[in-house]
């Protein structure tokens, strides 16, 4: 979903004409772990929301606060939605100024849900008095079909775009190359495999897991939360450990240089760029095959 909205905001060619119209409004994409909402409690603490994505536009004088959920029952999300209901423009600009004041002139909490749940969410929002814009999505492979319901968007053009856009056939994939909520082992393995090939073409005396991950997931790493980073880091270590136990190890291409120590895993990676082309190809093929069937995390826990 994030790729879809980023693609719209960035004017992704594959999402035209919707992205042309949307990007003309000059929305900027923001990721923030927590936004404080509502009044402070007796201890002075405020509640918070963690939107999946914030889009703000000074030109449109509007912010879109996006929350995605697959839960078909809105009642289970009651507490969360109540907090979203408390959000006002100043929450986006006060304290830690997330968005420029002009862009907080109006805001729309936009809940993105499976299309089949649209009616129940619409009824729920009405009964609770939440002015949420609702977008029902049916992802089919690389495409998404959209249905809009709930409150209208504050900006007429945005409302028009989402009312008129019913199908987006090819969602861009490059802003987030794996799902942030539930990273797929294959998606991670492919990225690890690609980064490992890059390092094998270069040869590095040592690379620790803490150096490998930020470089491997270069675009995603800066905005990943600690929990997700730990999870991804673990999957990466498991994959590299599995690689290390295969033919690659027999060729002395990748080996642990601090096995048995408590310090973060560290490997030495040999340079294969001067090997005959067919040798390089066989190494790539081996890693491609492993990336297709990555080791399961639980087997190593």
């Amino acid at each position: 979903m994030t790729n879809l909205f980023l693609g719209l905001a960035k004017g992704a060619r594959r999402l035209r004409p919707a992205s042309t119209r949307f990007s003309a409004l000059r929305y900027e994409a923001l990721v923030e772990e927590k936004v404080k909402v509502g009044p402070p409690d007796e201890h002075g603490n405020r509640r918070s929301i963690a939107p999946d994505l914030l889009l703000y536009s000074q030109q449109a004088e509007n912010s879109l606060v996006l929350e995605y959920t697959r839960d078909s029952n809105p009642r289970r999300k009651n507490d969360q939605f109540n907090r979203y209901g408390m959000l006002n423009g100043s929450d986006l600009t006060n304290g830690r100024p997330y968005v420029p004041k002009k862009a907080a002139h109006s805001h729309d909490v936009t809940v993105v849900i499976p299309r089949r749940s649209l009616r129940s969410y619409e009824a729920y929002a009405k009964s609770e008095g939440h002015n949420f814009a609702l977008l029902g999505c049916s992802p089919v492979r690389s495409s998404v079909s959209l249905s809009k319901a709930g409150s209208p968007f504050s900006v007429k053009e945005v409302d028009k775009i989402f009312s008129e856009t019913t199908s987006l056939p090819e969602i861009p994939t490059g802003y987030f190359s794996f799902c942030q909520e539930e990273p797929d082992a294959k998606d991670l393995a492919r990225k690890i495999g690609a980064h490992l090939i890059a390092l094998l073409q270069e040869g590095v005396e040592s690379v620790s897991i803490d150096e490998f991950c930020p470089a491997c997931y270069a675009l995603e790493w800066p905005i990943m939360g600690q929990e997700l980073k730990q999870r991804v880091r673990k999957q990466t270590r498991v994959f590299l450990t599995a690689v290390q136990k295969t033919e690659i190890a027999k060729m002395h291409l990748l080996y642990r240089i601090n096995a048995g120590s408590n310090s973060p895993a560290m490997w030495s990676i040999r340079n294969i760029s001067e090997e005959p082309f067919n040798v390089q190809q066989s190494v790539w093929a081996h890693l491609f095959a492993m990336a297709k069937r990555p080791p399961q995390l639980e087997l190593f826990d």
């Binding site: 004017g11 060619r13 890059a198 390092l199 800066p222 760029s273």
Partner: protein, 410 residues
């Protein structure tokens, strides 16, 4: 450190080198030349990570980079820092002979100049090996439109074409299509009328006429001139009688190339951390768009372009694959970096990350034209176009063509 052999001139300064190179330029390809074939060759190469490096670390950096040019592991590469800052002599010692180049890293820390009087083929191989061996070194890639528009204030006196669609065609299920010639390679070296002939060819075979080199004659004061034979990989072979004209060309080329690569890099994608701690996405994806009726056969394209072989040197792991959509995590074997590609019959989208080298895009786009034809435009998602924008007229030689008078120098 190995002493230079008897034929290698003792050079310590740029001025001394330029004097020797100018002397060699005057001799042209006479047989009495002492070093190699004697013609002056210069290459502009792209180097990352050298800017801001301390003088004391510079020699080690150059050594770390240029050693990959040695042809075999047993050959040696000796880098000597010369008297002037950022000026080096590099000698590759093999069993049969030595190969000497001089490297100027100071005048532009990112776009170095490499000079040699040794053989052109050996020079190319050496530069290619260096590019393959280390991630921070690459040749520059002059897309055909650059060669078509940028003549450095000179007059075009020759051109080379290189188009080879044949290999890709052989991978297509239907074989040969009806796009016209599948191979068009030629070289015209001549006098007046050369460029008119090029334009004539372009009118007839717009997609297949792909410039791979140009020969430009530059004139200075009095009878001063330089004949600059420039290949699309940024290598010059120069004759004439005035080295300063060639040096001007090098600076003009670097200025234009740097400008375009910087524009590409400016749209690299990345999250910027704001004062609030929130992250904002900057940059845009880059699209290479087939023009006209040309459509990419996604599977054949994958097999050809992402095989790891030259010229593209890309390998990819598919994330999604169908007849009409291919999503890949691609390794650029030149730069040792990864990029996300999406390939459709009517579009190639590349997600260049902030900090990644724009030279990758120039290389991909240039080679794409040599092997698929002039059938593409390059545009970021924000509408900014690359590689075919108008060149700064102040240094373009376009206006001089019609004013030229014959001199008999050719």
């Amino acid at each position: 450190m190995q002493a230079p052999d008897d034929f290698t001139p003792v050079i310590q300064t740029r001025r001394a080198l330029f004097n020797i190179l100018e002397g060699q330029m005057r001799r042209g390809d006479d047989s009495d030349l002492k070093i190699g074939t004697g013609q002056v060759k210069t290459a502009v190469v792209e180097v990352d990570g050298y800017g801001g490096i301390s003088q004391s670390d510079a020699t080690a950096f150059v050594e770390r980079t240029m050693r990959f040019g040695a042809s075999r592991k047993r050959d040696t590469c000796t880098v000597t820092a010369l008297d002037e800052e950022g000026f080096f002599q590099v000698i590759y010692s093999g069993r049969k002979s030595d190969f000497t180049i001089w490297v100027d890293t100071l005048t532009d820390p990112r776009y170095w100049l490499a000079f040699t009087l040794d053989r052109a083929e050996g020079f190319d191989r050496l530069l290619d090996r260096t590019a393959e061996g280390t991630k921070h070194f690459d040749r520059i890639w002059l897309w055909p439109q650059f060669l078509e528009r940028e003549h450095f204030g000179g007059v075009v006196r020759g051109f080379g074409l290189w188009y080879d669609y044949n290999t890709y065609l052989s991978k297509l299920p239907g074989g040969f299509d009806d796009f016209g010639p599948s191979i068009l390679k030629m070289q015209i070296w001549g006098g007046r009328g050369t460029w008119e002939f090029y334009e004539y060819l372009r009118q007839g075979y717009q997609d297949q006429v792909i410039l791979s080199r140009i020969l430009v004659k530059k004139r200075g004061e009095a009878q001063a001139y330089a004949d600059e034979n420039l290949s699309y990989a940024g290598k010059f072979v120069v004759k004439g009688n005035d080295f300063s004209l060639h040096h001007d060309t090098l600076n003009q080329l670097r200025t234009q190339y740097r400008k375009e690569i910087s524009r590409v890099e400016a749209v690299g994608l990345g999250w910027t951390t704001l004062e609030s701690g929130a992250h904002r996405l900057e940059g845009y994806a880059i699209n290479i768009v087939p023009e006209g009726n040309f459509r990419i056969d996604v599977q054949a394209f994958k097999g050809y372009v992402f095989s790891g072989a030259k010229p593209f040197r890309l390998v990819g792991l598919p994330a999604e694959e169908s007849k009409t959509r291919l999503v890949m995590d691609v390794v650029d074997l030149h730069m040792k970096t990864t990029m996300r590609f999406e390939i459709y019959p009517d579009l190639i989208t590349i997600y260049l990350k902030k900090g990644q080298c724009g030279n990758s895009i120039a290389r991909f786009y240039t080679n794409l034209q040599h092997y698929f034809g002039a059938r593409f435009s390059v545009e970021a998602d924000n509408g900014e176009r690359f590689f075919d924008t108008a060149i700064d007229e102040s240094i373009s030689g376009a206006g001089e063509r019609s004013q030229e008078t014959p001199t008999g120098i050719d």
